[in-house]
């Protein structure tokens, strides 16, 4: 079960040696940083475009419509056209708004996803850096987004935005709790915070299969908390169209609005990647204990395809939530979190600790 043919790290180390042969060490590292930086930004941009297009198509199929099909083949270039439109539009700044914070908010909102993109494992070896404290780093950085929302709500001097921002602040902060606890259940099982090792520990079988009941509960809790954290689905209180017109980003237009728009979708991607990596084994193919023939067959499919398959299925599920359920009220969201999700995840942590102690997992 070696993955030599699909191992990106071998490919990158060969490039590294080749460059080292030609120029001094310092120059090589700067070149690598710059290329990886631009690759990350390009990847985020492409990711945002494809997710927006995917969401509009999926929403259309749910709603008896066809979705964008005018620009490009089957509407593929529709989001490119949208982004160009947003770039060319004049970014207005409300007269009596807090200018500095008003312009800072979109960048903070966009900064969090960029940092987290670097720490996520996409395929064997295809990872910018595999920190020992990967999971801890990701959950910590992804909570910066709340600052962007609160700043945007306060600084645009619009009553609706302020109400939207207050709601979103309360919601994201409280849902990070049960999201963190849900990930903790698997870390207790896998014993390490490093993404690489969590994936390695799922070589014989994904945690969702090996950790049976507690990991299933954690998976459901994480999905609910994940949709709440990205202000999507039944929890899109911050930009509730029917109450607050567009919530915290009402006053934004042009490229600033594009930042908010893309940040929401990249956050969705991050939540789904964490769920896929921690619960469904990231790029690890599906292995079932003894059947070596079956496992070998599974290894033929490259890990990147496994990764993208899991991510697509989860994204489809979260989009399914958004386009089916009505919106919750702010006090119901908080009662759901503090009275239902939190006690369940706490009990779950105790349960999983007990199970790891006794070794009752596959």
């Amino acid at each position: 079960m070696n993955f030599s043919i699909y191992d990106f790290s071998a490919f990158f180390t060969s490039i590294h040696e080749w460059l080292l042969g030609m120029m001094p060490e310092a120059l090589v590292t700067t070149i690598e940083w710059i290329t990886i930086g631009t690759a990350a930004i390009l990847f985020t941009a492409l990711l945002g475009l494809s997710l927006v297009y995917g969401e509009r198509k999926v929403a259309a199929w749910f709603q008896l419509r066809i979705g964008p099909n005018r620009v490009g083949f089957q509407g593929v270039l529709q989001t490119v056209a949208d982004i160009l439109k947003l770039i060319l539009k004049e970014p207005l700044t409300p007269k009596s708004s807090d200018k500095f914070l008003y312009n800072l908010a979109p960048f903070i909102m966009m900064m969090a996803p960029f940092i987290v993109i670097a720490a996520l494992p996409y395929a064997k070896g295809l990872q910018v850096m595999d920190l020992e404290v990967g999971v801890f780093f990701v959950t910590a950085v992804s909570s910066i987004g709340v600052l962007g929302v609160l700043l945007a709500g306060w600084s645009s001097n619009n009553k609706y935005s302020l109400i939207g921002a207050m709601r979103s602040g309360a919601q994201i902060v409280s849902y990070e709790l049960s999201a963190g606890l849900a990930i903790l259940t698997v870390i207790v099982l896998s014993g390490s915070l490093q993404f690489g090792e969590i994936i390695e520990s799922q070589r014989e079988g994904w945690w969702i299969y090996r950790g049976h009941i507690p990991v299933w509960i954690a998976f459901i809790v994480f999905l609910i908390a994940g949709t709440a954290e990205t202000n999507r689905g039944p929890f899109d209180l911050a930009e509730a169209e029917s109450e607050l017109t567009a919530g915290f980003h009402t006053e934004y237009s042009g490229i600033k609005f594009a930042f908010f728009f893309l940040a929401e979708y990249v956050n969705l991607f991050i939540i789904v990647v964490i769920a896929a990596t921690v619960f469904l084994g990231g790029w690890m193919p599906l292995h079932i204990g003894g059947l070596d023939g079956f496992n070998a067959a599974m290894d033929i499919i490259p890990p990147i395809v496994w990764f993208l398959g899991k991510v697509t299925v989860l994204i489809l599920l979260i989009m399914w939530f958004k386009w089916t359920f009505p919106r919750l009220r702010i006090d119901q969201i908080l009662t759901l979190e503090w009275k239902y999700l939190l006690p369940i995840s706490l009990v779950n942590i105790v349960l999983v600790a007990f199970i790891t102690l006794m070794g009752w997992y596959f």
Binding site: K159, Y160, A240, E243, W323, R327, L328
Partner: protein, 373 residues
């Protein structure tokens, strides 16, 4: 009133927000000035008149045939019933005998309009509460009926199909078949409405116990239609003061007593089932005969007052004609259901959150041209 914050005598500040006139959930140009305390609503004050065309003044210059094209622009979602009311008022003024075929056609058209209005309301209610997909499903069934209307009456929304003495054209040959197909199709789709919204736990959380309206308040504010019947105020005009041939039809008057948002919603869903029952009783035996009674070219109502009540999708529409014998009415007053239903909004929304106000308002099913006239 224009400054941002009102200083109360006791030093506290009142923080008010304009909801409308351009707002996604006011369904039309209705401006609500909310006095808020954080998310809790202290006072809702509607500002009207953004779409006031003064239909009552226009009616005074039109003769009795021309008045009808104005009334289907009042509550455009129950256009047939509005015209039906005016035609009935004129007919019982002239005491013209409307042929049976016209009476049955009018009742079928009324019930089809009620279903199309309730399906559109259901879709928009789902969208107000966040389930955007339900809007498309509601509109699909609404459009199915508008197709039927377009084929028979020639227009989709403002049909102007009733004339004093009967209806403008005879039914289109494949009207009966298309209506039967729609009823069969709609009977499969209506349970889907329940699984998608009515039984959904999030929807129940958002609507149960929200925006309570007691029976006394409903009567005192004159809240009629499904909104009033959900509070126990039995006001179905089709049952209590039957017109056309409603007294010969068997259907139930939907009555609940809880008076919260969920039961106003449930009242409309059950009313759709009743409308289906009515149409099924009539669609197969539409009597033959001519569809319009002979009326003189220039209609002159005798001196006196004529009041006609009709049950539209939103409530009890009253047409009050004061005539002084000339060819156009001396004074024409429309008692619009939306107007009284809106006046009770402050009573229901006080103490709730903004999200509750949106939920309560969408179960009142407000159509603003019906309020402003």
């Amino acid at each position: 009133m224009e400054q941002n914050v009102i200083m109360n005598p006791d030093g506290t500040q009142e923080y008010f927000v304009n909801m409308g006139p351009q707002h996604p959930s006011t369904h039309g140009v209705l401006r609500l000035v909310l006095t808020l305390n954080g998310e809790i609503i202290e006072k809702v004050e509607p500002h009207l008149g953004y779409i006031h065309r003064s239909i009552e003044k226009m009616c005074e210059k039109d003769n009795y045939r021309q008045v009808i094209h104005l009334t289907d622009r009042m509550d455009y979602l129950s256009a047939h019933m509005n015209n039906h009311a005016v035609c009935l008022a004129i007919e019982n003024g002239l005491d013209v005998e409307v042929p049976d075929r016209a009476v049955v056609i009018r009742v079928i058209m009324d019930e089809l309009t009620r279903i199309s209005s309730h399906t559109l309301w259901w879709g928009v209610m789902g969208m107000d509460l966040g389930a955007i997909t339900s809007f498309l499903y509601g509109f699909r069934d609404h459009e199915y009926i508008t197709e039927i209307f377009e084929e028979t009456c020639g227009a989709r929304l403002t049909m102007n199909y009733n004339v004093p003495g009967g209806v403008m054209f005879d039914l289109h040959p494949n009207f009966v078949q298309k209506t039967k197909d729609f009823i069969a199709e709609f009977k499969r789709k209506l349970p889907e409405y329940d699984t998608l919204l009515s039984n959904n736990v999030i929807f129940l959380e958002r609507t149960k116990g929200v925006g309570i309206l007691s029976k006394e308040m409903a009567i005192s504010y004159g809240v009629t239609g499904p909104a009033g019947r959900a509070s126990g105020f039995a006001n179905d005009v089709r049952k209590h003061e039957p017109y056309s041939n409603y007294d010969k039809l068997d259907f139930k008057e939907i009555l609940y007593t809880e008076g919260d948002t969920f039961h106003r919603y449930k009242a409309r869903i059950d009313e759709m089932w009743e409308s289906i029952k009515i149409i099924e009783q009539l669609i197969d035996n539409i009597p033959e005969g001519d569809f319009q009674a002979k009326t003189r070219k220039v209609i002159k109502l005798p001196k006196g007052e004529f009041y006609q009540k009709v049950e539209t999708a939103r409530g009890e529409l009253g047409v009050f004609i004061v005539s002084d014998g000339k060819m156009n009415p001396y004074r024409m007053k429309f008692r619009s259901p939306g107007f009284s239903n809106l006046s009770a909004l402050n009573e229901m929304a006080k103490g709730g959150k903004i999200a509750d106000l949106v939920a309560t308002m969408s179960t009142l099913d407000l159509v603003v041209p019906d309020i402003d006239r």
